[in-house]
Symmetry: C2
Subunit: 501 residues, 2 copies
């Protein structure tokens, strides 16, 4: 491991959110019973390849922003069993002492390739490809899926919401803060969700633990209870700007936005000016945000507060935000809670972990899982994924066998793996391989990017998609095809599987 890589993983693993995690048992019981089965039948050392992929985009979206790899890397780097965990497993009465001894010595020694966080990805693409002893790869399935599914889901949802603030024009998106802690599905959902939301384009979070751990900007000013705890709204405003003259964003809807909140904000804004400060903004958290924001804008402008921002919150989601903007709402920023932090409407990404190949007598034997549903038949073999760019736009992806040569500019004929008559010739392209090495034989070989790097990268990635693929409803379906050798292998294995029970 190079010094830079080692330093970076040390920095990350020292974050309080990662420190002190006991994650050996963060798995489904059947992983342990299967591991015991492999142990009992002398097959622990069997080398295999598993792929993490998902079958359909969440929320009718046209893509996913993958996220969660950092959490996976920390987990794989430190997964182990503590004495109290071994004792618990012993108490279940399922396992013998030899097996528990194997767990005591457990560490992850596999090889991992993954698509970096912030990348745009599509159904059926291996997001993480893990190679190693089946004994280890069985244990880690549940946690790896949990982390990748959760963070990718929230990052994707965030891109939908942030794009809605500007009708899909990425460069014009308004600042959007993640406000969901109180409605999150417990603490990790809030904290890792805030991280994922930031990767997906949010500008800040209200969640201080997320700010503390991940160096995400934090934002927030006051609640209705603050206003109520004073005898009048203007006293509450004055007390707030007394504490934070440089961060004066005032919540104006506790009593009546247009007849109380905005007039009082203007009064306090003039007092602030006299002290050399500026009224940064007002927040409206209820009522008709389109009507109120337009009226408030006029009132503020008329009093010389043209730069004072109007921030909206109140159970917003991408649909409401889009409708508000279409109605000409004068909103400069958004706070989004429940809908973002739970990915309301699509609260799970269905990532799966499937056996792709098995080593027998030194060579890889591709494995397949058949199903009556053609979309559920897995892609066999150890694979890689490449992306073709034409004029800097992502044009199509190709899933190939690992041993295949990557095209270098020659025209390539792509065909739909289900409806093979659909063909497309691609030329004048550049090409990028998506999976990069993360672990080799249990050693980290990847210098983990900072969250700012990941967030910037996600923005660049989004910009490589056509606006049709980024459309929130009925998006253009991006081409993800199989190489001819992979397609033929799959066809042959399906045909053969029909006869093997």
């Amino acid at each position: 491991m190079s010094a830079n890589i080692a330093k970076r993983i040390e920095e990350i693993a020292a974050m309080p959110i990662y420190r002190n995690r006991q994650e050996g048992l963060l798995t489904d019981l059947y992983q342990l019973t299967m591991m015991y089965g492999f142990y009992k039948s002398g097959r622990m050392e069997q080398h295999v390849v598993f792929d993490v992929f998902y079958r359909s985009n969440p929320c009718d979206n046209g893509y996913v922003i993958c996220a969660g790899l950092e959490q996976v890397v920390v987990y794989l780097n430190q997964v182990a069993f503590q004495p109290d965990e071994i004792q618990y497993l012993r108490s279940l009465g399922l396992f013998d002492e030899g097996f528990l001894e194997e767990l005591k010595n457990f560490r992850f020694t596999g090889t991992v390739y993954a698509i970096p966080e912030g990348s745009v990805v599509f159904p059926h693409e291996p997001l993480v490809r893990i190679e190693g002893r089946i004994f280890e790869l069985q244990l880690i399935e549940s946690a790896v899926l949990c982390f990748v599914n959760h963070q990718s889901l929230i990052a994707t949802k965030a891109t939908r919401i942030v794009q809605a603030t500007s009708g899909g024009v990425i460069e014009d998106a308004h600042p959007t803060s993640e406000f969901g802690l109180r409605r999150a599905q417990n603490s990790d959902a809030a904290v890792f969700g805030a991280r994922a939301a930031y990767i997906g384009g949010c500008s800040s979070t209200s969640n201080v633990t997320a700010g503390f751990n991940f160096a995400i900007p934090v934002s927030g000013t006051q609640a209705h209870s603050w206003i109520q705890s004073f005898d009048s709204e203007i006293e509450a405003f004055r007390a707030y700007v007394h504490a934070f003259p440089e961060r004066a964003i005032l919540l104006v809807d506790t009593y009546d936005v247009l007849h109380s909140g905005i007039p009082n904000a203007i009064t306090v804004g003039n007092e602030l000016r006299a002290q050399g400060y500026d009224l940064l903004g007002v927040r409206i958290d209820s009522g008709d945000l389109a009507y109120l924001s337009k009226a408030a804008r006029k009132m503020l402008d008329a009093e010389g507060f043209g730069h004072t921002q109007i921030i909206a919150s109140d159970d917003l989601d991408e649909d409401t935000i889009r409708d508000l903007m279409l109605q000409g709402a004068k909103l400069d920023g958004f706070g989004v809670g429940t809908a973002l932090i739970t990915a309301k409407g699509c609260p799970a990404l269905g990532g799966v972990y499937k056996l792709a190949a098995e080593k027998r007598d030194g060579s890889w034997i591709p494995r397949i899982k058949v199903s009556e549903n053609p979309l559920k038949v897995t892609n066999p073999g150890k694979k890689k994924v490449i992306r073709f760019y034409v004029d800097q736009k992502a044009s199509a992806d190709l899933i190939m066998l690992d041993e295949e040569t990557i095209p270098q500019g020659e025209p390539v004929t792509l065909f739909d793996p289900i409806h093979t008559y659909k063909r497309k010739v691609i030329q004048d392209y550049t090409v990028k391989e998506l999976l990069v090495p993360i672990f080799v034989d249990g050693e980290i070989v990847y210098e983990m990017p900072t969250i700012e790097q990941i967030r910037s990268f996600a923005r660049l990635e989004l910009a490589t998609l056509s606006s049709e693929t980024r459309r929130p409803k009925n998006p253009h379906v991006y081409h993800v095809d199989l190489s001819l050798p992979l397609w033929e292998l799959k066809r042959d294995l399906v045909a053969r599987r029909g006869h093997v029970n």
Copy 2:
């Protein structure tokens, strides 16, 4: 604190899931800026009462099972700021050193009343009532809401799913295991979600961390990848029962349930019998579960495996389970993942935390938050909640002011707080006060129940509801009324508030 209470909180706080948590910063930034505002304006010591309540039942349900109190108690008991957290807050450039000093010495010293975990509760009822310094009560809002919202949501969803297995007859519910780890919204959602699901009536979880921490039964056998990793299905079955002859539940749908899985299971079942064991069950994870289970049942019965259970999984939820049972599916148990662990369809409970009263010159001044939406107007004052039982069935709840006398058997006229012409006289009742003391001046006074006690209590609580209130769609709306003094207070404050800005 009594010795029993102290011992119990020590036991609970020692659970690895609670140990080593750093939760001082698990809050929204605006709580800290408001705390700073109180500090700067000399109002830190202001005593207030906040209520935790929600406004509508999730998933069109008729009730909520409240859960999460244990997590709240542990949090309140240990919430503090570590040196690295103070340093982070300093780095934000928002706060002065005097304030950071206050945080260094922060501990919770308030008084808490709460409705015990496992209780059936309804909209607008204070589930947790917290009294203390506004400086402390502001900090804890976000985490308290997060825990109560999440665990109550999942416990409630679990009751919907478990009841669906027997058409709503609680006593006849089939064992239902929580299988959602891989689709949970990160680790805590999986682990605390498994706890809540168990409280709500699930019989076990696949999540080993949840089993380890909370002593929940764990279950699970093998995945498709186990079957695939052998050259044939029957070899895979034999290897599994070799490892676990006493826990033989075989996954029979990898290739073909009726032509391969069940015949192979019967062969292995006969081999098991010859060794003195029994084939406990088969699991079907794909295909038409109604058709397949009926056909499989016949095949098993015909070969003398009448006691072998048929377990179903495959993206189940309460609606699918109900439909399967209505179609006569022969299913003895269920594994439910995504829909349960994310509460798909309703992934957040909208619990809020609202100021109810403020102490001024030694007496409590009730506080209200008005809104154009009558359902959003808060109930003012320090309150309690009582439940009337008639013939052992919960008949109505009454929210009262804390100083009111609880009725002792005399006829009581209840009226709907919004549509006051709706009246109901209740007599021949018994009465229970729902809020119980948890903390007094920062000291725990509550002996925390075990999870088995909570789960049994939840089952008893459900049984106090009519089947009409437990109906999954369009349930009977349970009566939650306000006492006349509370209603009058609210009316007067609303009238007065109209003139105070």
